[in-house]
Each structure stands twice: as structure tokens, then as C-alpha cells.
Symmetry: C2
Subunit: 243 residues, 2 copies
């Protein structure tokens, strides 16, 4: 059995819990990790609360190979993620010259007020993550990557993280559409097919659009030739159910 390389994602921000903002970062990070052979095992959406952030970071860092955090590294008083990461690893934190240099490529000395200089506070020993969108950097502390919450900035930071990831065997997936059926029609035969193949998981996802209902069968696994075989069986099943 191949070792699974795992990740946990921590989405930080009161605005996600109030429903004001819908998270899209989880999906972006998970899809980006897939070709690297890293599987997201759990995600937590937590408030801008010091003890919750520290506990969650410690727990995830111990539990998973890689941890990604988003949110809370901006210039305002409720941006406390950097300080919490330092505390989680019992490290100091201070304004760092390498981070200030990044900020100076964007802001004039006049615009570099106390609030913006907070974005140059980096936990001791952490390495910077480049921010090609708005310069204020993210940072890596041990196996934890701390990124911005704004989706476009977060995406930009991923480009400077890929080379730091030691991935595993890639997981591939195939999707087969079965129009007009309900999940319950396919449940038993799907379970039968899954039983025949080790290391393969099959999910069924119903959809309800205005003009079309049906189920998507999604098979996932590491061996593409096995997936080809399973996909063929799923097509036969879909045809037999929809005809």
C-alpha cells in the first residue's frame, strides 16, 4: 500500500462563520494539491480567536504532513494569525527585513504606516512565501503554510509553495453521468463494483438542475488501468439504469 501524503486546511475568519463570505479557498487548494498526490483529510473554519487558532494549528501540524492556513495576515487589529502561528510553535515574532523589502516594492515610505508594517511581522525562522499580487508575503513555519485569505492573493502564493511539497502517488478520478436516475437505483450495484477493486473508491453525487436530474458516479484511485476498467463497468451500469 502506498503511503498517503496528507494535508489539513485551516480557514481563518469571522466573516466565513457569519456567512458573509463564502469560502472558495478550500476547493482551490484541494484541486491544486491533487496532481501533487496530496490528499486533504480535513478542513476547519475557525474564528479570529487566539486560542482556537493556536490549538488548531498545533493539532493539524502534528496530524498531517502539510497544513495550509488562509486569512488573518492583513494589516488590521483582528489580523492575528502570524502571532498565533509563532505561539503555536513557541517561537518569537518580529518585523523582518526580508518582509519589509517585499512591502517596499509596493508601498512608499509614507504609505508604510504602523498598520501595514504589521504585515512584515514573521515568526522566527519561518521562510517567506512570495505574494505576486499584493506583495505582503505569506510564510512557512515547519510544515505549516500561512497564506492570505483573499482568493486571488492566496492563488498567487501557491506558485511559491509547489516546490516545497513532497507529494505522493497521484490520485486519479473518472466521472460517469447517469441521467434521469436516482441515487437509490444505483447504490447496490455501485457497492458491488467497489468491493471487487482494492484501493478504489466510488462515490455517487446526485444533481438537480432545472431540466436535468441524475447522478454522477465518481471513481478515484491511483492505478489508471484499474480506473479504465471500473469506468467501463460504470458506463455499462449507467446505460442499463437509464435505458
Amino acid at each position: 500500500m502506498t503511503h498517503t501524503v496528507t494535508a489539513g486546511i485551516i480557514l481563518i475568519g469571522d466573516e466565513l462563520l457569519s456567512g458573509r463570505t463564502k469560502d472558495t479557498n478550500l476547493s482551490t487548494i484541494a484541486k491544486w494539491l491533487e496532481p501533487l498526490g496530496v490528499q486533504v483529510m480535513e478542513a476547519r473554519i475557525i474564528a479570529d480567536d487566539r486560542s482556537t487558532i493556536i490549538e488548531t494549528v498545533r493539532h493539524f501540524s502534528a496530524q498531517f504532513d502539510y497544513v495550509f492556513t488562509t486569512g488573518g495576515i492583513g494589516p488590521t487589529h483582528d489580523d492575528i494569525t502570524a502571532d498565533c502561528i509563532a505561539s503555536a510553535f513557541d517561537r518569537g515574532i518580529s518585523e523582518r527585513e526580508d518582509a519589509m523589502a517585499e512591502l517596499r516594492t509596493r508601498y512608499s515610505e509614507e504609505d508604510l504606516n504602523a498598520a501595514r508594517r504589521r504585515m512584515a511581522r514573521i515568526p522566527d525562522g519561518a521562510s517567506l512565501i512570495k505574494n505576486p499580487v499584493s506583495q505582503a508575503p505569506g510564510f512557512q513555519t515547519e510544515n505549516v503554510f500561512t497564506m492570505a485569505g483573499v482568493p486571488s492573493i492566496m492563488k498567487g502564493m501557491l506558485a511559491d509553495i509547489g516546490h516545497r511539497i513532497q507529494g505522493g502517488a497521484k490520485v486519479y478520478s473518472r466521472t460517469v453521468l447517469a441521467e434521469g436516475i436516482g441515487e437509490g437505483d444505483a447504490a447496490a450495484p455501485l457497492a458491488e463494483i467497489e468491493k471487487d477493486y482494492d484501493g478504489v473508491s466510488i462515490g455517487s453525487y446526485p444533481f438537480f438542475n432545472q431540466n436535468l436530474t441524475g447522478v454522477n458516479f465518481v471513481v478515484r484511485g491511483r492505478d489508471e488501468s484499474v480506473l479504465d476498467e471500473v469506468e467501463a463497468k460504470l458506463r455499462t451500469l449507467a446505460n442499463s439504469l437509464t435505458s
Copy 2:
């Protein structure tokens, strides 16, 4: 100080962690809870994994006043949420006549195969939650509400939950837009304003649209007259920064 009524949300499903599906249920539930005076403290997105579901449900049920789960109560072999909820509360689980009656309003006896009958498996002592969209019910076990993962069905179930919630003092919010500024311009004055008001929190949320950048200030609190006052200060601040 008014007691805060709290909630935790558990989003269950491999498809959320793979990035295949973007969750919208958290935002729907949080916005629905807001006028009831219930605050979402944390959300976790977890896999269809027995021990993770059981542990998370136990932890959240002890930690928060109310818990909402979505996903994993359909007819397929990976729909294991109902069994996990029963285990989390050390209860038995069986096909229940009241749940079968709901299913019979939708399915003929012929269509009520073994897979679909699984949707009538309900933890002992749990009360049903009506599903006006596709009939297969959710259920309430102590302070845990177990709902479907499909957003339209989940929304339908909320209608049968509202009367079971003992809410707290409603939290109100006001939003003030400051066009063309950066978060760092407002950080210090925002912190000053927040310091002057107990029980009020102010967040700042930058946005970057094609033709417009700026920051939304969002103030939240329980006393509307205080919010009026803070909102006026935020407007003055926004005007002074953008002019």
C-alpha cells in the same frame, strides 16, 4: 453580558475535501441562524470516515448549544452519517416506521429497494426533520440536527428546525463602503473606534473587482442604537480617507 447561544457546523463528504464540490451550506445555515440570535463558532469539513464523524459529533455536541451536520444520509454505501450519529450517542439504530411513511409518499413499493430503505434508518429516540423536497427525512438527536448535503434539500429541512431553537439576543450588522482605499489606511482608526464600544466588533474586508477596489467596514453588535453611532463614525472615517 448576554449569554451567547452557539452553534457548530459539521460538513460531511469526501467530495468537499477533494474540491469537487464547493460548500454553500455553511453560509446558508449561518445566515439562517443570525436572526435567531445563534452564532456559528466553528465549522469542520470532514471525510466520510466513521471514527472522524463520531469524534467530531461528540466534541461539537458537548462544546456548542446546537450542532448541524450536512451530508451522508442518502441511499449509498458511503452514506454512513446516521449510523455514526447513533454511535456517537451510544444509541441503537433501525428502520423506523415514521421514516418509512415519509418515503412512501414519494416512492412506490417497487422503488423502495434496500438502498432507499436505508434512508429510513434513524437513531433510537431521534425525532424526524421533515424534508419537503425529496421526503427522506433528517433527524434531531439531542442538540444535533442531521440534514442532507444537497443544498436545496438542506434548505427545505431548515423550515422544520426553526421552532426547535432557543435563540439568544440577535446580532445586527452594518456595512460601510470605503472606495479606493487599502485596508492599511483604515486599520489604526478602526481599532480606535472599536476600543470605545463594548460588545461591538469591527471587521474590514478588502475587495478587488475589475473596476473598483476598496474596503468594506462591517460592525456587528447586539444594540442597534450603538450600531447607529458606530456606523456614523465609520461613514465619517470612510469620507475622510477617500476624499
